[in-house]
């Protein structure tokens, strides 16, 4: 009797843990086959949103970079909020319309979390991951960059496009664009306002 009970309890434990782990394992697989967007919660970018400051007037100076410094090249800033640290690279993106746009990105690779290296010289053109070889290009066309070059060559009006300043994946195993950081310009400085981590 006692033995029977023990066996049942063990069966319950093992059965439920196998079921749970199997579920946990297959969720990403099944979820990616089914419509992932329908399953996802409202978390934009499948990331955590961190508001660094409510608006540009009360942003701390440590989360800012002077534009004159950005003209020398991309700059790394460890954004701080409480105990939290967010690695960010600020840079100027030279757009196709000839203007310079300040932008910032969370430099944690979306594939496996390695720190990504900024690419390009004075202007920020993209990021490369040293670990597993993912590449992220920053879209520098204000009209958007084609997701599929061939499709856009045939049908330039209706093809899918990456939005302007999106650091989309141009190679390697990363599944999604780099997480962006919202910046605002005040005076001669660029401030980080909101970050996705």
């Amino acid at each position: 009797m006692v033995d029977e009970n023990r066996r049942n309890v063990l069966k319950f434990f093992i059965g439920s843990s196998v079921a749970l782990s199997f579920g946990a394992l297959t969720t990403p697989l099944v979820g990616s086959v089914i419509n992932a967007k329908a399953l996802a919660l409202k978390g934009e970018y499948s990331s955590v949103e961190v508001v660094l400051c409510e608006n540009v007037d009360n942003c701390p100076e440590e989360n800012s970079v002077p534009i004159s410094e950005l003209r020398q090249g991309p700059k790394f800033v460890l954004l701080k909020k409480g105990n939290m640290a967010i690695p960010a690279v600020f840079g100027l993106v030279k757009a196709k319309d000839g203007k310079e746009y300040p932008a910032a990105y969370n430099t944690v690779c979306t594939h496996f979390g390695c720190p990504v290296n900024p690419q390009g010289g004075k202007y920020l053109t993209g990021f490369g991951c040293p670990c597993h070889g993912s590449f992220f290009n920053i879209c520098n066309d204000p009209k958007g960059c084609p997701v599929d070059e061939e499709e856009c060559a045939e049908n330039p009006d209706e093809c899918k496009r990456w939005p302007f300043l999106e650091a989309y994946v141009s190679g390697g195993p990363a599944p999604r664009p780099l997480r962006p950081i919202k910046v605002a310009v005040k005076g001669d400085k660029v401030y980080a306002v909101k970050a996705y981590i």
């Binding site: 093992i14 196998v18 782990s21 946990a24 394992l25 969720t27 990403p28 697989l29 979820g31 990616s32 992932a36 399953l39 978390g43 934009e44 499948s46 955590v48 534009i67 790394f76 460890l78 105990n83 939290m84 640290a85 967010i86 690695p87 000839g98 203007k99 746009y101 300040p102 932008a103 944690v108 690779c109 594939h111 496996f112 979390g113 390695c114 720190p115 290296n117 490369g128 040293p130 670990c131 597993h132 070889g133 899918k160 990456w162 939005p163 302007f164 300043l165 999106e166 190679g171 390697g172 195993p173 599944p175 999604r176 664009p177 962006p180 910046v183 605002a184 909101k194 996705y196 981590i197």
Partner: protein, 407 residues
């Protein structure tokens, strides 16, 4: 001399050790080195505990930047006065190069860890092929063993992070972001990590947490599990020999000798040999402290993980992340249920050929990935597996309105 013998007898008597020390052990297990590999892992754990105690006294976790003197052993250190490095790195630097015997202490710790990982893998494969979960109480022992193996790998990674050298930083970044693939399907792992550690990037708090886990929490669990395992082995005996003939098998199992002094002597000999091999490795191939890294520094391309996780690196790099990320979890979970699936038939290799094949598949997966990781620079898309990509419209536009500056 006589007094020592008396003292020994007194200890045995007063601590009731006679039954434990003289418990019968089958002769085949004493003579066959395949049955000693677990001992190698357990002995390494004790060596690690002793050296780890001394290292924990000298190590200071922290991310604040301190100066490191130039090191003639490191490339590119000529001509500069001092180097910026994190507090963790500086303290490990001090242990390694500025403390008497510190270099050897750290080397013994490292090589014992590698010995332990190697022994754990070898022990797992051996027991899988021998089918030792079929002995009395073998299922529980198997469960304990797989858990201990999992914790061993965890300990290796945690210990690898602590010096906060370049590769350690990469390891912690991967650790913090590994399970975030669940984020895509509404399971907020990112937020969970954030609420537990306070940050998704390495901070003082995170490194302190890892330090405590590495020196206290995980070893404590490991020692408890190891105690349970030794208890289980005393109860169920060592694994039966994989002989099909029942008569022969019974005969082999009945031929027993007491643990003390027969096996005890062998175990001591094995420990001494193991320590000598570790010292030889320390002398012949000392592992230098890897280069420092501070946040924001460029990471050189082509960085590779250490060999215990090289196979994972290979698969993660060449297979779609939505498939390859869960591979180790799958391997561990499947290993856990093996005793429940392999129930019929005897213990011999002929009768269990399916499970021996499964064990060989395990060896092949880990071995192939390890060798490939060392031999070739894995191209980005090596396998024709379907790429499961996140739909482009899932990622919303770059936040904020782009503002042009300057001309």
């Amino acid at each position: 001399m006589r007094a020592l013998v008396r003292l020994w007898e007194l200890i045995i008597e007063r601590f009731h050790l006679k039954e434990f020390l003289e418990h019968p052990v089958p002769r085949y297990a004493n003579l066959n080195p395949l049955y000693w590999i677990g001992d190698v892992a357990a002995m390494s754990l004790f060596v690690l505990a002793i050296t780890g105690f001394a290292l924990a006294l000298l190590y200071t976790p922290g991310l604040s930047l301190t100066k490191t003197p130039p090191d003639p052993l490191m490339p590119g250190h000529h001509g500069k006065e001092v180097y910026d490095a994190t507090q963790s790195y500086s303290s490990v630097y001090k242990i390694t190069y500025l403390t008497p015997l510190g270099f050897i202490l750290r080397q013994i710790h490292l090589w014992s860890a590698y010995t332990m990982v190697f022994a754990v893998f070898a022990h797992f494969f051996t027991k899988f092929i021998l089918g030792s979960y079929k002995r009395r109480g073998g299922g529980a022992l198997w469960l304990l063993g797989v858990s201990l193996g999992f914790l061993t790998i965890n300990q290796t990674v945690l210990g690898y992070i602590l010096p906060l050298h370049l590769d350690g930083i990469l390891a912690i970044q991967i650790g913090l972001n590994l399970f975030r693939y669940f984020d895509y399907f509404g399971i907020p792992v990112g937020q969970l990590v954030l609420s537990a550690l306070g940050s998704l990037f390495v901070t003082d708090q995170v490194i302190k947490m890892i330090y405590v886990l590495h020196i206290l929490v995980v070893p404590a669990i490991m020692f408890v599990l190891l105690g349970l395992k030794i208890n289980g082995i005393l109860y169920g005996g060592v694994s039966p020999p994989p002989i099909k003939d029942e008569e022969l098998r019974r005969k082999a199992m009945e031929e027993k000798e007491p643990f003390y002094p027969h096996r005890f002597a062998l175990t001591v000999g094995q420990l001494l040999l193991q320590l000598s091999v570790i010292l030889l490795l320390v002398a012949m191939t000392p592992l230098p402290l890897l280069e420092p890294w501070v946040p924001g520094q460029q990471v050189p391309a082509g960085v590779r993980p250490p060999w215990p996780v090289m196979w994972y690196y290979t698969y993660v790099k060449m297979i779609d992340p939505f498939i390859s990320v869960g591979l180790p979890i799958f391997l561990v979970l499947f290993a856990l249920v093996v005793p429940l699936l392999d129930r019929k038939g005897g213990v011999s290799i002929e009768e269990r050929w399916i499970w021996v094949t499964v064990a060989i598949v395990y060896i092949a997966i880990i071995g192939y990935g390890t060798v490939l990781g060392f031999l070739v620079d894995v191209p980005k898309e090596l396998t024709p597996l379907t790429r499961i990509s996140v739909p482009p419209d899932y990622s919303v536009p770059y936040i904020g309105t782009p503002q042009a500056v300057g001309p």
